[in-house]
Structures are given as C-alpha cells and as structure tokens.
C-alpha cells in the first residue's frame, strides 16, 4: 500500500475479489466465440441464398449472356465472402496482452479502415461483370426488353443500380474517414514511441 491518500482511497474501494469459478470463466470465453460464429453463420447463410438463386438463373435464363452473368455473380459471391472473412473478422480480445492498448486498437482500426477504403475493389467491382452481362442479356432478349430495344425503363433501372453502388461506396468512404480521425488521434497520443 502506498502513502498517497487518494490512491489509498481508490484501492480501498474494492480490496478483495477472488477468482470467479473456472467453469463460469470458460463459459464466458465460449460466449465471445459463439457470437463470432453466429455472425459468420449469418454471412454464410446470406452467401448460400445468393449462390442458390444465381445458380438457378445460370441454368434457367434464356439468353447465354444472362447465364454467363449469373455464373460470374456466383463466383463473385464466393470471392466477396472470402474477402469479408479475411478483412473484417474480429480480433480476439486475448491477443491484446502482447502489445500496448493503443497499438492493438490502432491495428484493428487500420484493418477496418482499409476494408472500407478498398470496398470498390473487393466488394463492388467483383459483382460488376456479372451484373453487366446479365443486363446486356436482358437487353438483347426480346422476351424481357421493351419493344424496339432498351428504352426509358431499362436505362432507369440501370441508373438506379449504379446509384445504389455509388451510395454504398460513398457511405464506406465516410466510414473510412471517421476511422482515420481515430487513427490520427492515436498517432498524436503515441507519437515518438517505438
């Protein structure tokens, strides 16, 4: 015990606390991983649904370009799921002991920022070839296109799709800038430290 009365008062506020039962601690540790597994499961289920729908399209769409486009979307879904797992998975809290708090925190923020910043390359663009071919197939298929070729309806739906992609990209860039501000704050606090 030290001689500083303020520190003494603080340390006296809780003086005794034993170790909780080991079974309880192990169950708590499992809870973190159960939550991660549940989140992964939701992603995999979403992935399976998209793959199932577009695999069905790959066999049933009338135009060859639509069928090739559907296959490319299935491939893009696998690629994006892998990237999501690689870039956005949670860092386990027990790894935090090996480095100072702010080095650990910074590492996580940089990883999240890079995932958001690069969203165009690993999340948006992989779907573009498939959607482009499916759209081209729709426009060339007399059964689906407006009489006399692509008209206002087709152009509007294409513009809506591009606008959605642009909004997804923009929201992620806003998120990346917000994370960058946190990273800059940490850098200012830790500057000069090895």
């Amino acid at each position: 015990m030290n001689s500083d009365p303020v520190k003494q008062a603080w340390q006296a506020s809780v003086e005794i606390a034993g170790a909780p039962p080991l079974e309880e601690v192990r169950a708590g540790a499992d809870r973190f991983y159960r939550t991660v597994r549940r989140r992964n499961l939701v992603e995999y289920v979403a992935c399976v649904i998209v793959v199932a729908i577009f695999t069905y399209y790959a066999f049933t769409m009338p135009h060859p370009l639509q069928r090739i486009g559907a296959v490319l979307i299935v491939l893009a879904t696998f690629y994006v799921a892998w990237q999501l797992h690689r870039r956005a998975s949670v860092e386990a809290p027990e790894k935090a002991g090996a480095v100072p708090i702010y080095a650990f925190l910074r590492g996580q923020l940089v990883r999240q920022r890079d995932a958001l910043r690069g969203i165009l390359w690993w999340y948006i663009l992989p779907f573009v070839p498939g959607f482009a071919l499916m759209t081209a197939g729709n426009w060339l298929d007399p059964a689906t296109v407006s009489p006399g070729g692509p008209g206002l309806r087709e152009w509007l739906s294409l513009a809506a799709m591009l606008a959605i992609l642009a909004v997804i990209w923009w929201l992620n860039q806003v998120g990346a800038r917000r994370l960058q501000r946190h990273i800059d704050e940490i850098d200012a606090l830790t500057e000069g430290r090895e």
Partner: protein, 180 residues
C-alpha cells in the same frame, strides 16, 4: 485431447487463477471505472476474466504479468465503452477540462458522507478513453513508465496527464488548507 494438451490446459488454468487472485480487486475497480451500471459491470468483469483466461494460453512472458493483465482488462473495457457510447448522455472530456473533483454543490460533499473514491469514480466516468486509462492506472499506483508500457502512449502524453491528475487530486487538500 492428448497428454500435452491436458498439461497446457492445466498450466493455463493455474496461471489464470494466480493472476485472477492477484489482480481480481484491480479488475473490479477498473470495471467500476468503465461501467457505472451494476448489472452491465458484472458482464464486463466476466468478459475481462474470460479474455484473461484465454490469454494465458498464449502468454510467454512477452511483458510483465502485471502489464499483460492491465492490457487485456483495459482493452475489454475500451471495447465495452465504445459499444455503449450511444446510450451515454454526457460527452466525454479530457483531464484539462476538469477543474475540480465533483462535490462543490453537492450537500453530501459538505457533510463528508460522499467518499473520495465516489468522487474519483464520478470524475473517471466523464473522461475520454486515454485520460481515463491514465487515471485508472495512476490510481493503481503504476509508474509513468509502466503506464506507457501498458497503453503505448508517448512519454509526453503520459507525463502531461499525470501532471494534470496530480493538480486535480491535490485540489481538495489545498482548499482544506486554505479554509484552516
């Protein structure tokens, strides 16, 4: 699980139990600094112990056990604080924006029934993460070098915060001297 796995597990359990006994009270105090609500605080303490137990599977004396435990505990505390920030009403501030410990207008302060640790806690709850960590570590009697090792903050960032803390914590005693 093979023989080696069993030995590793029991070693992990033993190291965790020793650390939990040595630092259990500190973990409780730290949790009070990160969470005011008793129910949520129980979950936070449980999460810290869970992370700590798992961490002893990979602890290879990379730093002192004390630093290791503080890093794990604060990291879980900060994550808890970040996920709970939407329900917070008061904005968090830096130490430079706090001029005195709470209690000036509080009638309990004058009758002395509000303890010093409660005032410290009320101040801690207002602080932004870096200031909060330095204050909690300082109150746990870690040196400036140890605080730097745990947090990763630069020596200057730690020094300026400890300087402000010392001034803030000495204020009630100075006021008392003036009255006497």
């Amino acid at each position: 699980m093979g023989m080696n796995g069993t030995t590793a597990k029991s070693r992990q359990d033993a190291r965790y139990l020793a650390a939990a006994r040595a630092h259990g009270a500190m973990i409780e105090r730290l949790a009070r600094g990160y969470e005011a609500d008793a129910e949520l605080r129980r979950d936070l303490v449980q999460d810290i112990h869970a992370a700590l137990w798992r961490s002893f599977a990979i602890f290879e004396e990379q730093c002192s056990e004390k630093s290791w435990v503080h890093r794990i505990a604060h990291n879980v505390g900060v994550s808890h604080m970040m996920t709970g920030r939407r329900r917070r009403k008061m904005p968090l501030v830096g130490l430079e924006q706090i001029e005195e410990l709470p209690g000036g207008d509080d009638p309990e302060h004058n009758t002395g029934t509000r303890s010093l640790s409660d005032k410290l806690l009320a101040t801690i709850h207002r602080l932004a993460p870096a200031d909060r960590q330095v204050m909690l570590l300082y109150l746990e009697d870690l040196t400036a070098a140890e605080i730097g090792e745990v947090t990763g903050l630069s020596a200057a960032a730690v020094a300026v915060r400890i300087h402000r803390l010392k001034a803030l914590l000495a204020e009630p005693y100075r006021a008392e001297e003036k009255r006497a």
